[in-house]
Symmetry: C2
Subunit: 412 residues, 2 copies
C-alpha cells in the first residue's frame, strides 16, 4: 500500500480521488501496489462525502507523516502551492501537479530539489490536460532531438475561435457563451490574451531543449483582436485561425512565440475544434507527430495526474530525469522566420490591389461581399522583409485615407 495526499479538493483534486477509486484495480496492477488517499488538504470540509474523514486543514500533517509518499498538488496559483510543494519534495515525497503557473515559474528549482532528494516532481496535467504530451517528450522521444513544437494549448480560446468560425459569432458573443458554459473565467484575460498558452509553451520548450525558459521573455499575442470577418476570409482562403504556442529549436536556444496562426487543410491542427487541444512535435528522427485530446476537464486532467502517481510509485527510490536543467535558454527573436502574412486592407480592391502587390509581392486575394475592403495572403517571406513592406504599404495607403486593418501570420 502506498499512501497519498491530495492538496486542493476542487475540480481536479476531486477528479484525482474519483479516478483512483474508479480504476483502483488497474492502478494497483500498474503501480505494483494499491494507492490509498490518506489526507485531503483543503480550507473547506466535505461532510457526507467519501473524503469526510480524510480532510485536514494543516499542511504540516502531510509534511511530517513519513507514510505519505505521493503528494498531489491541485490548488493552483503560486501561494501556498509553491512553499507546500517545495516542502514536500524536501521531505522526500514525490509530487505531481496540474499547476502550469507553478511549473512555469518554479519548475527548474523544484526539479533540482527532486533530483537531489531522489524523488520525482511530475506535471503531465499542466500542459494539454489529458493529452500525454510531456510523457511522450521525455519517454517516447527520449532518443529524438526535438526541433519544433506547435500547439493549440488552450481549450477556451479554441472554443471561442471555433464558434466565431462556425456560427459567425463575434468575439464577445463567443466569450460570453464560453463563460456561460464554464469554459472561461469571469476574468478571461489569462486565456484570451494568450498568457496560459505562453506558460504552456514555455514548459514544453524547457522539456525540448533541457533549458530553463523564462515565460516572460516570450512574445505573446492573444485573440482579442480577431473578428468574425477574419475567419470568413480565412475560410475563403481554405485556412483556419488557431491560437498557437510555437517553438523552433535553434542550437541550444529557441525561437518561441504565442499568436494566432492561420493553418491550411493539410496541417493536422486545421480540424482541431471546440475545447480540444493538440500538439504537433517534430523530431530530427521521428519527423512530425501529433497528440490530440481533451485539453481540460475534470477526469481527463485527473487521469494525467494519476499517470504521474503511477510512474512515481514505479520509481519510489529513483528520480526519473526529464532532462530539464538549470541552464537558461535565451528566447530568440523571430526576425528571420518565414511565414505567409494575411492582411485586410480598407478601400477599393480595384484601386489598391496592384499597390498592395507592389509592396508585398504576388498574393492570393479574397473578397467578401458588401465590405469596402479586401484581404491578401502573401507568399512566404522573412518577418523583417514583411515589416518593411508593411510600413511602406501603410504610408502609401494613408495618402488615400486607407489603412491595413488586420495582420495575422499564416504558416509558410
Amino acid at each position: 500500500m502506498i499512501y497519498a495526499a491530495i492538496m486542493g479538493y476542487g475540480t481536479i483534486g476531486s477528479g484525482v480521488f474519483e479516478v483512483l477509486e474508479k480504476n483502483k484495480d488497474k492502478i494497483a496492477a500498474a503501480a505494483g501496489q494499491p494507492i490509498e488517499v490518506k489526507y485531503v488538504l483543503d480550507l473547506r470540509d466535505f461532510p457526507g462525502t467519501p473524503v469526510e474523514d480524510k480532510v485536514i486543514h494543516d499542511f504540516s500533517v502531510i509534511e511530517k507523516d513519513p507514510e505519505v509518499q505521493l503528494v498531489v498538488e491541485t490548488m493552483g496559483g503560486l501561494n501556498p502551492s509553491y512553499p507546500f510543494v517545495k516542502a514536500c519534495l524536501l521531505a522526500g515525497k514525490h509530487v505531481s501537479t496540474s499547476n502550469k503557473a507553478l511549473v512555469a515559474a518554479y519548475g527548474t528549482e523544484l526539479l533540482a530539489i527532486a533530483r537531489e532528494k531522489g524523488v520525482n516532481f511530475q506535471f503531465e496535467a499542466s500542459v494539454g490536460g489529458g493529452i500525454p504530451v510531456i510523457r511522450t517528450m521525455y519517454r517516447a522521444m527520449a532518443g529524438d532531438k526535438i526541433q519544433e513544437i506547435t500547439g493549440i494549448l488552450n481549450g477556451t480560446t479554441n472554443y471561442i475561435l471555433t464558434k466565431m468560425d462556425q456560427e459567425g459569432w463575434s468575439f464577445k458573443e463567443a466569450l460570453k457563451e464560453a463563460q456561460a458554459l464554464g469554459y472561461a473565467e469571469q476574468n478571461p484575460e489569462a486565456d484570451v490574451e494568450g498568457y496560459d498558452t505562453c506558460r504552456k509553451i514555455a514548459i514544453l520548450t524547457a522539456l525540448a531543449t533541457g533549458r530553463e525558459v523564462d515565460y516572460q521573455e516570450i512574445p505573446t499575442e492573444g485573440i482579442t483582436e480577431i473578428c468574425a470577418e477574419d475567419l470568413r476570409y480565412a475560410d475563403a482562403l481554405g485556412l483556419s485561425v488557431k491560437l498557437v504556442g510555437s517553438s523552433q529549436v535553434q542550437g541550444k536556444d529557441a525561437m518561441v512565440w504565442v499568436a494566432p496562426l492561420m493553418v491550411g487543410k493539410d496541417n493536422p491542427l486545421y480540424g482541431v475544434n471546440d475545447v480540444y487541444n493538440a500538439v504537433l512535435i517534430k523530431g530530427n528522427m521521428l519527423g512530425t507527430s501529433m497528440y490530440y485530446g481533451s485539453g481540460a476537464g475534470k477526469l481527463p486532467t485527473a487521469s494525467a495526474v494519476v499517470a504521474d502517481m503511477i510512474e512515481e510509485a514505479q520509481n519510489l527510490n529513483c528520480h526519473v530525469s526529464m532532462g530539464w536543467s538549470d541552464e537558461k535558454l535565451k528566447v530568440q527573436p523571430s526576425d528571420n522566420s518565414v511565414y505567409r502574412y494575411f492582411l485586410r486592407i480598407s478601400g477599393k480592391f480595384e484601386e489598391l490591389h496592384h499597390a498592395a502587390e507592389h509592396y508585398l509581392g504576388e498574393c492570393r486575394i479574397a473578397l467578401l461581399e458588401g465590405l469596402n475592403e479586401f484581404a491578401v495572403l502573401t507568399e512566404p517571406m522573412e518577418k523583417s522583409a514583411f515589416e518593411q513592406a508593411r510600413g511602406r504599404l501603410s504610408e502609401m495607403l494613408a495618402q488615400s485615407g486607407d489603412r491595413i486593418i488586420q495582420v495575422i501570420h499564416a504558416e509558410a
Copy 2:
C-alpha cells in the same frame, strides 16, 4: 557504457544504428550512460561502412556474450527471429523489436519469459511506426481503462485510398504507384488484404485488455473491393474511407475487426492522409485522444526502437509490466454493434429509392452523374438488423435484375 547488438541490418536495423550515432549525446543522457553497438548480425557483410568491424554471422556470439545487455531484432518474419529473440531473453538480455508478426504470434510467451527473467521485451515500433502509441497505453494511460481503439495502422493502404480519393485513380493504379515508390511490396497481400492491420490491432487489443488476442480470430476485410466511385460518393456525403482496425472492449473481452470505414469530418481520422497513421483511443477517464505520425519509414521506426532501448537501459534490473497476461481473450461477434451503412444500388434512383428506404429506413442519398446507380447512407442500425434488411432488399432488387453493388460501413 551499455553494449547492444542489432540483429538484421536492413532498413530499420541500419536506421537504429544511424539514430544511435546521430543523437548519441541525448541518448546517453536519457539512458544514464552511452549505448554502443557491439555486434551487427546479418547474412551479408557491409565492407566500407561504419559497421564493417561489428558484423557477425553467428547468432551464438551475441547469445553468449554477457557484455551485450540490449538486443534489437529487426529481421522481420518468424524464423529465425522467434528462436533468436527467445534465446536472448532466456540469456537475460533485453530485446526490442519492430516485428509485428513476431509480437502478434509470440508476444504472450516472450513477455512471460521477460517477466520471469527480470528483463524487458519491448515493441513500440511494431505498431504505428514512430507513433508512440504502445508506450502511451502502458505509461500515460496506466490509470485509465481503455474502452475503444480505432486506428489507421497501415500506411500503404492509406496512401492508396488517398490517391484514389484525391486523384481519382483506380485501386490498381494507386497500388502500382505505391509499389513504384517502395511503399508497397511486389506481393502486396499483407497490406491490401488487411492482414498487417489485423496483427497490429491484435497487439493493441492485448495491451488494452491485458489478454492474449489470437489475430486469426479477427474478422478482416481489406481494400481490394473499394473503387474510385465509392470515394466519390463518400466525398459527396462528406465522408472519407479509411482502412481501420477497431477494438471495443466489452468486459474482459473485446469486439475486434478490420475493415474499410467511412468517417465524417468531425472525426480526427478524417484528415489523416497519405502514408500517415493515426490511432484514436478512448479511455474511461481520459476520454478520446489521438496519436498521429509516420506509420513507417526508416528513421521514425528506428526512433521508436531506440526509445525502447533507452527505457531498457533505465530498467536494466527490472521488468516493466505492460499488463499483457497469458489469459486468452475471446474475440466477440459484432452482431449488436451499431453502424451506419453505405450501399450502392444498381438501377434507376427514381424507381428504386423508395423501395430501398422501405427496407433500410430513412437514408441520405447520393447520385453521381452518368451512372445507372445510386448510393444511400442509412441511419445507425444494429448489424443483425442491417443484414436482414440487406437480404430482403437484394431479393426485391433481383426481380428487376438490379443488385446491391457495394456495402461499406460508416461510423454511427
